[in-house]
């Protein structure tokens, strides 16, 4: 059990966003969280990434375990550095005043120096050729989609073994969206564990092994992708039909 969330409760100030949800992710799995806007998907990921207030919520109950160890007292930077668990945040949050290349370099901050980075850079530039073209561009002037690519690439550069993605396909043109999902699948086949939050439930369930459905801070349903895809409520609410 790589990651397990145990009836987690979190608050923003005094607004409770999660009312004791539990889910888990096994090594080498792709698990997806789907749910309406405001269901608590982002909140869950923030909590796992241990981001601190004010932007992020406060855990008021339950536990988050990584390989059995509670990580409630782990600093966010250590989640990346030690646990090798990275997050692609909703809304990109790229460093607009740095060039594309600097953004990627920065992501290697916590990696041991002897790691061979060139391979990873190459991987990312193969995946997103547009980034290769724009190496030197100040990233705040990138187009929405380009920024999204950078955000994903950046997370990969942290050399993580598990990746949390919050709506990675947002703002991506279809061609890139499919490309991205293929890549995610490939990464997973190479052994990367993925926790995926996605509005496009259909795509998500296509590549995920298991999934959880969040509804206003609680788990409404869960199961394998097939089960969920078969579930009439889910179909109705999230698969449009």
């Amino acid at each position: 059990m790589l990651l397990s969330v145990e009836n987690l409760e979190v608050k923003y100030g005094n607004i409770q966003a999660l009312h004791g949800i539990s889910f888990n992710v096994k090594e080498g799995e792709i698990v997806t969280l789907i749910g309406a806007n405001g269901a608590g998907k982002t909140t869950s990921l923030y909590s796992i990434a241990r981001l601190a207030p004010p932007e992020a919520p406060k855990v008021v109950g339950g536990d988050i375990r990584f390989m059995g160890e509670s990580i409630l007292n782990t600093a966010p930077s250590d989640v990346v550095k030690n646990l090798k668990l990275a997050l692609v945040p909703e809304g990109r949050h790229i460093f607009g005043n740095l060039t594309v290349m600097e953004n990627l370099e920065l992501a290697t901050y916590s990696r041991d120096k002897d790691a061979d980075l060139d391979k990873d850079y190459q991987r990312i530039f193969d995946l997103f050729p547009r980034l290769a073209e724009r190496r030197k561009q100040r990233s705040e002037s990138l187009s929405g989609g380009e920024q999204q690519m950078l955000a994903v690439g950046r997370a990969l550069m942290t050399g993580c073994r598990a990746l949390m993605l919050d709506e990675p396909s947002m703002g991506l043109a279809p061609v890139l969206k499919y490309e991205l999902f293929r890549t995610l699948k490939k990464l997973n086949e190479e052994g990367m564990t993925l926790l995926l939050v996605e509005q496009n439930a259909k795509l998500a369930l296509d590549i995920a092994h298991r999934g959880y459905v969040l509804d206003t801070g609680t788990i409404a349903a869960s199961g394998t992708s097939e089960e969920l895809a078969g579930n009439p409520e889910v179909r109705k609410a999230y698969l449009g039909g």
Binding site: V79, V80, L98, E105, L106, S110, R111, L142
Partner: protein, 303 residues
């Protein structure tokens, strides 16, 4: 005529060096936290006082020769001053940041911290000004009517060295890159595995340490210490930093010398009563011509 022009060039360089040194500290902290650390001028003052006490101790109590005392004073002061800076960050700024307060509230806190340093000093040490003991023998060289001293040269050189060092840190090192990242988006920094608070502490250490250095050099060049000595020069340095393009090391450096030059040259070629009038009009003009300072990049609002 030529002689006096050359003389003023030297004056400008030396005076600008101090603006530059202090402005660098401003811009460094700003570059990371977009915090105008209005206490910086007073940290500089504290630096000068620390230097004063260390130096007098070394000279009298330890009976060291001047050069040795200086050799001791410089590192000691830089360390102690940086402690002051870090303490401020810890007890005053960080909690506010944690609470997600608007940056200007931190700025006002800085302003208040500055007042505390000034008047605390006044309350503790009394109103008498302190005379900084001469550490090196200042020799005056006069070449063709142009006079300068070994100290002036030293000041100018160290300003350049400090600049070169900080520029290297910010542009070439990962820490520097992290600093710039923080200034743009604090939220995502931890997600890169970067321990933000450490970076911030480093920033304050650097900024304050060099404020301390500036304090020593200043005290040696203008050996009259008083609690408010940092206030005005602090404001001016801030102005210099912004005119250069706040957050940009080159900006602070050039801005410092620019302001120094403007002030000196205005006095040199106009009635000195008009100094502030003309000097600030010039700055105003510069900012109207380059709305984000000499080096500041306009944040392209991408919509």
């Amino acid at each position: 005529m030529l002689a006096s022009i050359l003389q003023n060039v030297i004056n400008a360089l030396q005076w600008g060096s101090f603006y530059a040194l202090i402005a660098l500290g401003y811009t460094l902290v700003y570059g990371v936290l977009t915090l105008i650390n209005f206490a910086h001028g007073d940290i500089f003052m504290v630096g000068a006082y620390i230097a004063f006490f260390v130096a007098s101790f070394a000279l009298t109590t330890l009976g060291m020769p001047g050069w040795a005392a200086l050799a001791l004073t410089i590192p000691a002061t830089m360390v102690l001053t940086s402690l002051v800076g870090v303490t401020l960050e810890r007890i005053a700024y960080r909690p506010l940041r944690r609470k997600g307060a608007h940056r200007l509230y931190v700025v006002i806190t800085a302003l208040m911290a500055g007042l505390i340093l000034e008047n605390g000093n006044l309350a503790i040490l009394g109103a008498s000004r302190k005379a900084f003991p001469p550490l090196i023998h200042e020799t005056v060289y006069t070449i063709g009517g142009v006079s300068f001293t070994n100290l002036k040269i030293a000041v100018i050189i160290s300003a350049f060295l400090v600049f070169a060092f900080l520029h290297w840190v910010v542009t070439r090192t990962r820490v520097g890159m992290a600093m710039r990242a923080i200034s743009y988006d604090k939220f995502a920094v931890p997600l890169m595995g970067i321990p933000m608070d450490n970076i911030i502490v480093v920033t304050f250490v650097l900024g304050s340490a060099f404020a301390g250095l500036a304090g020593i050099l200043f005290a040696m060049s203008y050996p009259v210490l008083e609690p408010y000595m940092g206030a005005l020069i602090g404001w001016k340095a801030f102005i210099a930093a912004v005119v250069g393009g706040i957050g940009d090391i080159r900006g602070a450096f050039i801005g410092g010398f620019l302001l120094g030059a403007v002030e000196i040259m205005v006095v040199a070629f106009f009635p000195s009563t008009f100094r502030d009038l003309i000097a600030f009009t010039v700055l105003l003009a510069i900012l109207t011509w380059k709305p984000t300072g000499l080096f500041g990049v306009a944040k392209t609002t991408k919509i």
